[in-house]
């Protein structure tokens, strides 16, 4: 039968000091010999990976793509939840405020990326401009950072817009001094919002449950089957799994079949016999 995937959680930060409160919170362990600093662990039954990308949109995109590729090679990328967490500047908001990004645009681009606002976030949201250089020239209506546009561009190739989000903690504004932003101050800013961050992560993981296709390839592992046969087999299995026709008896018979043609014939026959029964539950 199909089952619901347990989505994994991918966190992306630019700086080690942004990552530290998250590493502590989820008890992540540093992985050895990786291209980017990578920390992994478990949040209930979800695998958690945190990558530290370094500064700039290019690095954020490259590190995110690297993580996506690595997890996909391990067969764990399906319906992954992605969250970029970092600090940002804003003209007037007070340091420490946490905002969900509702639109993001690189300073040199015309099009914005709109993360899909499905998971509940009770706090404020704001647009974000990603700049190439640090700046204290704050726009009136948006936050500024140096990474998010690269992150969104890269990750949108690997997951779906509802599950790709970014939260920024305000670190500086028109009245503050950028030079006072030490790693400790940044870690403290993130730490001060860890409860909201964790609760948003829970909300994201809760909406991310997507069905995993039924996998019964082991039943025909003893048979020679072309790519096309396998595709037909997978499809028929999916159909029968959906209509409840994949019982023990059939599975046993499949395991004893001598050829893939025999298997497909059995599945087709069963498919054509299946009549859907309403159970009153969707």
């Amino acid at each position: 039968m199909s089952s619901m995937a347990r989505p994994s959680l991918h966190l992306v930060t630019a700086l080690a000091c942004e990552a530290k409160p998250l590493i502590d919170c989820f008890g992540l362990r540093k992985q050895e010999q990786t291209d980017y600093p990578l920390f992994q662990g478990q949040l209930r039954d979800h695998k958690v990976s945190l990558v530290v990308s370094g500064l700039g949109a290019f690095n954020a995109g490259a590190a995110s793509a690297w993580l996506a590729g690595r997890e996909s090679a391990l067969g764990r990328s399906q319906s992954a939840v992605w969250l970029n967490i970092g600090v940002a500047g804003h003209a007037s908001l007070a340091p420490g405020e946490a905002l969900l990004v509702h639109a993001c645009r690189a300073a040199d681009e015309i099009r914005s990326y709109y993360p899909s606002m499905v998971a509940k976030w009770p706090g404020k949201t704001a647009a974000l401009y990603t700049l190439a250089m640090p700046s204290q020239d704050y726009p009136a209506d948006a936050m500024i950072d140096m990474e998010a546009s690269g992150y969104f561009t890269a990750v949108s190739r690997f997951s779906t817009a509802e599950l790709i989000q970014s939260i920024k903690i305000i670190s500086d504004n028109q009245r503050s001094n950028l030079e006072k932003l030490s790693p400790t101050v940044i870690s403290d800013l993130i730490q001060s919002r860890i409860t909201e961050l964790c609760s948003f992560i829970d909300n994201l993981l809760a909406i991310a449950r997507l069905p995993q296709p039924a996998d019964y390839l082991h039943l025909i592992s003893h048979l020679h089957a072309s790519v096309s046969h396998r595709a037909q087999y997978a499809r028929l299995i999916e159909h029968l799994s959906a209509t409840g026709g994949l019982d023990e008896q059939l599975q046993q018979a499949l395991g004893q079949a001598n050829t893939i043609a025999e298997v497909l014939a059995m599945l087709r026959e069963r498919r054509d016999q299946q009549v859907p029964v309403l159970n009153g539950v969707d």
């Binding site: 606002m117 997951s159 779906t160 037909q232 209509t243």
Partner: protein, 350 residues
């Protein structure tokens, strides 16, 4: 409850947009340039988004009116459809909108006046036709489900009162009929109710009012003088389908005046191939996208013999209450033998 509203800059001050925003005072409002930036962008998942859709308020600048596919004609004259809104409050598992749109967000075009102007000028072009031109609403949304928010019915009913050679058909499953009961019935408006037996409705028509509630609404509208259409489309094949449809029809026609029914339509479950592919990917675990289907017809539909059997049975049941002239049946197949290659194609379709 909507918690995010995207609004195009150009409709920011539109009275209808302001009224909608007034209803959702606590929603976050995000300004956008064009609705397509949000609605059409790739990489969205309809199923995930349906858990908490946002509302997009926009201006429809062109292509407000479309000709209907030639097959779908209950009025006999020229036929057009229009959509003041894309997507629906309900979540019917068979709904083709899941296959058609990237996004499950509700997209509301607030410039009703432009829709009405297009309808009026098109109706005028058909001024000398023997039969009135029909304008269908509810292809890409439910016509009435969002009516308390949009004020759609009030605006369009008033407009059609001035267009005697045009007929408006409102396709709906909604019981939001207050605005219709608050005014005299308009003779050139048909309220067309989509119906399924209670067991089908409760399993597949997620979020829509139950069968009995819809029948109550039909009875009230009919008593108020509104013309009523009944749509069993799609007819859903399942183990007890004959009993279920027989029971639903008996319940329905005990309450409504069959002689006064404008038309009844029956159609098999069918989908364009691309939509089917997308929907099956969204719900691989759902029996609806597996049971009895193949691609013998020009679209994905029940196997020809099965569709004939199912539509035939429900047609026979319906004919106990309804005359031949009132009944329209829409099979998915041109007359002719089934093509076997369709079965294999469905198996390899990804």
């Amino acid at each position: 409850m909507v918690d995010t509203i995207y609004i195009e800059q150009q409709v920011r001050e539109h009275p209808r947009a302001l009224a909608v925003m007034q209803r959702f005072k606590h929603a976050r409002v995000i300004e956008i340039e064009r609705y397509s930036e949000v609605f059409n962008s790739h990489g969205q998942n309809f199923r995930l988004q349906k858990q908490n859709p946002s509302l997009i308020l926009a201006h429809k600048s062109n292509a407000r009116l479309h000709s209907t596919p030639a097959q779908y004609e209950t009025g006999g004259g020229a036929n057009y459809y229009f959509s003041h809104m894309l997507n629906c409050l309900y979540d019917c598992r068979y709904c083709f909108l899941q296959g058609m749109f990237q996004s499950a967000n509700y997209l509301l075009f607030v410039n009703f006046e432009d829709f009405v102007a297009d309808i009026a000028s098109t109706a005028e072009q058909h001024g000398h036709d023997a039969r009135p031109a029909w304008f269908f609403s509810g292809y890409d949304c439910d016509s009435l489900a969002y009516d308390p928010v949009t004020g759609f019915a009030e605006h369009f009913l008033a407009a059609f009162e001035q267009l005697p050679n045009a007929v408006l058909e409102l396709r709906t499953k909604s019981t939001q009929i207050r605005s219709l009961l608050a005014r005299p019935a308009t003779p050139n408006v048909v309220v067309a109710y989509s119906l399924s037996p209670p067991a089908v409705a409760s399993e597949l028509e997620v979020g829509a009012p139950g069968f009995e509630k819809r029948v109550d609404a039909i009875v009230r509208l009919q008593q108020h003088g509104w013309r009523i259409g009944l749509r069993f489309d799609p007819v859903i094949w399942h183990a007890d389908y004959q009993q279920d449809y027989a029971g639903a029809l008996a319940y329905l026609f005990e309450r409504v005046d069959a002689a006064q029914i404008d038309s009844v339509t029956l159609g098999g479950f069918r989908l364009p191939r691309d939509y089917y592919k997308k929907m099956q990917k969204l719900y691989p675990e759902h029996w609806l996208f597996a049971a009895g289907l193949n691609s013998e017809a020009s679209q994905i539909a029940y196997r020809q013999t099965l569709e004939q059997e199912v539509l035939g049975a429900v047609e026979t049941l319906t004919r106990q209450y309804i005359s031949q002239q009132q009944l329209y049946v829409y099979p998915s197949y041109e007359a002719g033998p089934a093509q076997q290659q369709g079965v294999a194609e469905l198996e390899t379709m990804r």
